[in-house]
Amino acid sequence: MKTLNTLLIITLTLLMITACSDNGSNQKIEEPQVATPEQTVDYQLEVDLDVKKFRSYYSDKFKNVAIEDFKDGVYAIDEASREQWLEIEEFPPYELSIDEGLEFFETPFANGKTYSSCFENGGQAVRQNYPYFDTETNQVITLELAINQCREKNGEQPLSYGIGELAAVSAYMANSSRDKIFDVKVPNEEAYAAYIDGKQFFYSKRGQLNFSCADCHLKISGSHLRADILSPAIGHPTGMPVYRSNWGELGTIGHRYRECNKNVRANPLPYQSETYRNLEYFQTIMSNGLAVNGPSSRK
């Protein structure tokens, strides 16, 4: 009995000693102050990596197509339709729109100014700079939006975005920028957010038919959808605005976005909505390095 008691006391004492020494080791040691470097994300780098992946995907998929030729859309990947298109290009239907666009561009507003007063270089050879992220108003500015902003700034009524006069002005401006290379930048965090928003739209399935832009124009691009061949997404914005035989007239990229959304039975968003502008921003960045070849004609 006594041995047991002694043993118990010894065990308890030992425990207490270890507990105390543990407490001792819990004593706070002053760590030397090390400044953690600020996490700066290089947004432009992230985007450039995305562009690289996008280009490789299409180069690998369409091995016989040089990267710069993707600006011709479906005509870069299908020989038969290319032949027909080249014939049409000898005297293209959008020529009339370029002439109209020139007239509109040079006709003064009520206040005497013209469109050239709103743009760099008088609006000549500037198509490749659109869309851009305006760091002051924190939004993507597309060429079409800039055209209407110019009108409103000069006391004129805005024009409708899909077809008609605005499309003709856009065609004229695109034509004056032919062969200039797209190099759209992502200058800051807000721009990157807009880019990601556009990227998200591109990859999200929508509509009753549950298709995303990527489904048709990335995954199964080059395949047939009824009587049409699905064009690769790379190069989509370069030829805008576009004379679609389907429409029988010239329309903007926004017009096509709305049509595409209706095609998958998704209710289209309003012209120049933030989402569509972000989508155009993303799409144009993915086509960086390609040349302006608008206006163009397509089936």
């Binding site: 999200s204 009753q208 995303s212 959304n261 998704a266 209710n267 289209p268």
Partner: protein, 98 residues
């Protein structure tokens, strides 16, 4: 503008019809609410508002069953659109190039 028109239509419907059409009215209401939710998310299907319009017309013509069927179809569409929106929000990255 169209949203306002539809909302007004539904309100008028709710107040102008007798109580024995409560179930159909409520169904149309639910369909419209869901459609607006899908629209807010940016994923409204182009087919839904036409179905709701047809349901209202059927109800006004006294065809309860047709109204109910169309309203249910519209509701299902809008619910699917909302599901689609949520799925996209969570999974779009998987579809992006790696």
């Amino acid at each position: 503008m169209r949203t306002l028109t539809y909302s007004v239509m539904i309100l008028v419907l709710v107040f102008s019809f007798s109580s024995h059409l409560k179930a159909e009215k409520s169904l149309i209401n639910s369909a419209e609410t869901a459609r607006l939710e899908a629209k807010k998310l940016g994923f409204e299907w182009s087919t839904t508002s036409a179905l709701i319009k047809q349901a209202i017309e059927a109800l006004e013509a006294g065809d309860k069953d047709k109204a109910s069927l169309l309203a249910q179809k519209a509701l299902k569409e809008a619910q699917n659109a909302i599901k689609q929106a949520k799925y996209a929000e969570e999974n779009w990255q998987d579809a992006a190039l790696k």
